[in-house]
Symmetry: C3
Subunit: 437 residues, 3 copies
């Protein structure tokens, strides 16, 4: 839950000062809006028809056999947590609420600095009620992706320990859709298509946010073992730490080497750590420490290349690198599980039965299931996200006014400045010549 | 305990830059001063005569039958934790220490930007040794408020799960007393009585602080169940989260609507989340999730109205809204328990026996007990606080010098500036005309 | 682990704005570099030959009888955590990783604002692979210091509960060596040898960092009891809190008194809290609460005096006071255990058998063992640190270029500014006269 604060700082620090209140307010309000949306609707769609949550502390499931579709497309019981006071269900709700809010927050980074606040609020309810819970049902709520193994002849279900796919890749691809529909910030691209850099206005804030996120991840990944009552928690924590280190060090090294200036890049180093954390989120409970370090290291290189690709080739303006960190590395995490899972753990986890083995340990089927998951995420999160933002743009308009964007969104949309004293200072030099004249 | 950091940031961010070091130092030092005061004196007054803490892990109480007065006005054993090495008592001390420090910190917000630092230090010892522990004894230490049920013919004791009253309302009303005795900041009110707005100098800092507080509350509220060895913790956590969401979203909506400008108010949204958290603190272990959301939502509206009332009608200058957030919503939390408690839980908690039912579930007696508690808080915290500050003002003087207040308290009272570089920048424009001339 | 964020903020806040990104990047990257170094090499040297970690949850030790030297100079099994998937070992690794990273971070404070970043990276690997693990082996890994009691005729082993010596004093003395080899920052000393003050550029950030560190210490100290499966955790937590309060309040009082200006010193108060926390780290599991308060209070005075000594007498430039906070008070913590340990606890902890009693409880031998530890730390950390930095300076050069140091290291070494907007503001006044002219 503390991760929300981390996201808020990373996104705010990487943006421009004139939008600081606007950016942090989207991160702040998504917390409240998301809680309400998930409580009223999302949780029921995601878990309302499943027996799997029975794993949780031995308590009975919220409801039974209440899904739409044979394998399960979504559930339809438990809206507003009515009819239950069960402690196990409450804990399960809480844990999944935090996961949902992470997904919702990721998108605010990719769409920062030009998103109309009232449009953001509508998005907040849609993501917490529909986008996240439906895919979440397929992967974690006993839906068709999880049952590929049990019911399909292919024998393998999609496995995603703590949400490289469900949480991060979904958020990243909804963000990609939003960034495309919004278009780049004014002034981001020159007429010849070359991008301009808008430097982070507060680098220490962004790095503090990265620290907080890294810390929060130790609730996120190891905490996921609680749902399965096993002792894997220390292994997961070590893997998480090693991947974060690999990501930070390799992104620093890769950006240093790439720029050929003899300088590391602080922003890339921070994004590298986050990329390593995202990538290890799916496989953290299934791989050996050396593999975790390697997965993180590859994520560190991947995030640098991906940010360059989206900025320079695809010309998608993503102010904080959220698409690359969460979207691309979320997919990498799913694939990494299909490569490096060593079969030590598996049974009893979130509907996974039998051991989970990757390609390196002789099982190609798991990799195939993971790749199916990747395709579904890109199609669902990217597709429904694009559709939603397009329709919303037609009805309500989702982009701030150009004059507000140029002036900074804080005063026109929020009514306050982030640092009123500093703005006064900035205005003074403009006034002085008049006084002197 | 991490909540101290949250309070420090919220209060500092909402104040003016020229006082930033002074504000954060009061928040920082209250931690150290409060620990020493509560260790030496406060804990003995609060819990020195009770058997109730025997609930805590089966360990024997600190001391027995050592209270002043028949029902118990305060205890008198255990000063300086002498004579015991008991692990259960140590844990109990630690937990209550954190609660006390929260109360003490709240007051620094209401009195910020014009409080003499040496006067603050004397206050720090007084609140941790006397004001907090005495009311704490009545409510949680087996004193007369808790025993209304057992010993009075009325059959109901005052119930306050994690301190809407004991912690927050007490802090809020001591703050109200202090703000009245200090008077408003210079320049706050015009001659015609209309207030001026001093905008928050660092809104991202204030919102980061709100996040930290929300996170800390999950130690505060669910942690309170540890004292009763029950499984309610997940229910409490869900209720806490829903109330915080209701508070933030409703305060945003209410301020948006009120200002009629099509703009949400970031400061009000943050205070709304805190108000929701304060209000759910007393009833969090006794109400259903839907009620928690409603309690938070009402708190969000209440805090906006209350801040407007104190600023515009009562003309009490409370720089960060502490009186409304903690005082008014603390009382609302106590009353909410008397309305919405559904009887699911009750027995075995901090001296509460039998079920706890509110008016909606047919029991008017509990509401009466809660209202008695509210009256006692306003009388004790407001009364003793007013008396203390008045006497201290006569003897020592509690307000900073006007010239220091205008210049900012950082240099005259702390000897350093919060951001020395920025102050240099600000001075430069003044110098330039001379250079040019 | 969250302590890394605390160190990052304290060090960044206490330095100058022009180096903010550089300072926070050393704190950020040491995390990643340290994890990799300790995983590949450090853990094996430190614990690779010990049976003591068998205490940890009943799991078998990583390896047995694999040390160099009769009593144990260092281990040589378990590089890269190969050959094990044991949950107990994983948890043990994780915990010790965090301790190591703390030591490594301390040094970045003492050497801030003039350290070449590429030289820092080499240091990062050396400290995590060699300096920390070797002393760690002697003290905690079953090495010769721990076995003074069992194998030497003196009957007492060196005892260090959570690392006043192993973690803090080692970091402080490596930092002292580095600060001496680097020399003072340009402009720190006048020709007559009097020091100039470079004020903290962001005092609220430094105090927020102190809060985060204090919070993190509650994972650090009480968490250390996990390794011994005992109930001491609440006692340790109370002692930690009391010492932090004693340190903050006494340092404030001592600096207030010393300056004779009627002003407390915020920086000294923050360092006083940290000094109290460092000093209680070794004895926290072995002393009574009153002693903890006293140990912290003495630490608060000691840190003020020590910072004055290094700045004015020894002329060692330590921008954040790391040598005094961690080095000097680390030694004080070791000695304090030899004075105040009351014999209540002892057996079963990290290789300590029998009770641990200090001089006040009649046992001079423990104090002698602690003093031997102090001498070894100064010799090993100071000596190997000095040698390392001297050799590295000869080969690679460890100091930034003077022109970069004067301009601020952010742009030349990191390629970005911490606050680009503010730098633009600062430049503007210079440009205006030209425009006007």
């Amino acid at each position: 839950m503390f991760m929300q604060a981390g996201f808020a700082l990373v996104e705010t620090g990487f943006c421009r000062r004139k939008n600081a209140t606007h950016v942090i307010m989207t991160n702040f309000m998504i917390y409240g809006i998301g809680i309400i949306g998930f409580f009223l609707v999302g949780y029921a769609l995601m878990f309302g028809g499943v027996g799997h949550i029975a794993n949780l502390g031995g308590t009975p499931p919220l409801t039974k056999e209440a899904t739409v579709g044979g394998w399960g497309l979504f559930g339809y019981r438990g809206f507003g947590l009515t009819g239950t006071y069960d402690v196990g269900v409450m804990a399960h709700f809480l844990f999944n609420l935090v996961f949902m809010d992470t997904t919702a927050t990721i998108v605010t980074g990719a769409m920062a600095e030009r998103w109309k606040f009232s449009a953001f609020i509508v998005y907040g309810f849609f993501v917490s009620m529909i986008i996240y819970p439906v895919f979440g049902n397929w992967a974690w709520g006993g839906g068709w992706l999880a049952q590929l193994g049990a019911k399909a002849s292919m024998g393998h279900g999609y496995v995603d320990f703590a949400g490289s796919g469900v949480v991060h890749a979904v958020g990243g691809f909804v963000g990609l859709a939003g960034a495309i529909v919004l278009g780049p910030r004014l002034g981001k691209y020159n007429k010849d298509g070359t991008p301009n850099t808008f430097p982070a206005y507060n680098m220490p804030l962004a790095i503090l946010g990265t620290f907080i996120l890294a810390f929060g991840w130790f609730g996120f990944n190891p905490g996921s073992t609680l749902a399965a009552t096993d002792l894997r928690i220390a292994v997961v924590a070590v893997n998480t730490m090693l991947a974060s280190a690999g990501g930070a060090v390799c992104a620093m090294w890769w950006s240093w080497r790439e720029k050929k200036l003899g300088k590391p890049d602080p922003g890339m180093s921070a994004n590298g750590m986050l990329a390593g954390l995202v990538a290890i989120t799916a496989p953290s409970g299934f791989v050996a420490p050396w593999a975790a370090l390697l997965i993180g290291a590859i994520a560190g290189v991947l995030v640098v290349e991906s940010i360059g690709f989206f900025e320079r080739k695809a010309k998608v303006d993503d102010p904080v690198g959220a698409i690359s960190v969460h979207g691309i590395n979320g997919l990498w995490g799913l694939i990494a599980l299909g490569l490096f899972a060593d079969g030590t753990y598996g049974a009893g986890w979130n509907g996974v039965d039998g051991t989970v083995k990757g390609l390196l340990y002789g099982d190609v089927g798991q990799l195939v299931a993971q790749l199916i998951g990747c395709v579904v995420i890109v199609a669902w999160a990217g597709g429904i996200g694009y559709l939603f933002f397009k329709v919303q743009d037609r009805i309500q308009g989702i982009r701030s006014k150009p004059e507000d964007e140029l002036a900074g969104l804080d005063l026109p949309e929020m009514g306050v400045l982030a640092y009123p004293d500093l703005e006064e200072i900035e205005r003074e030099p403009v006034l002085i010549p008049e006084v002197v004249g």
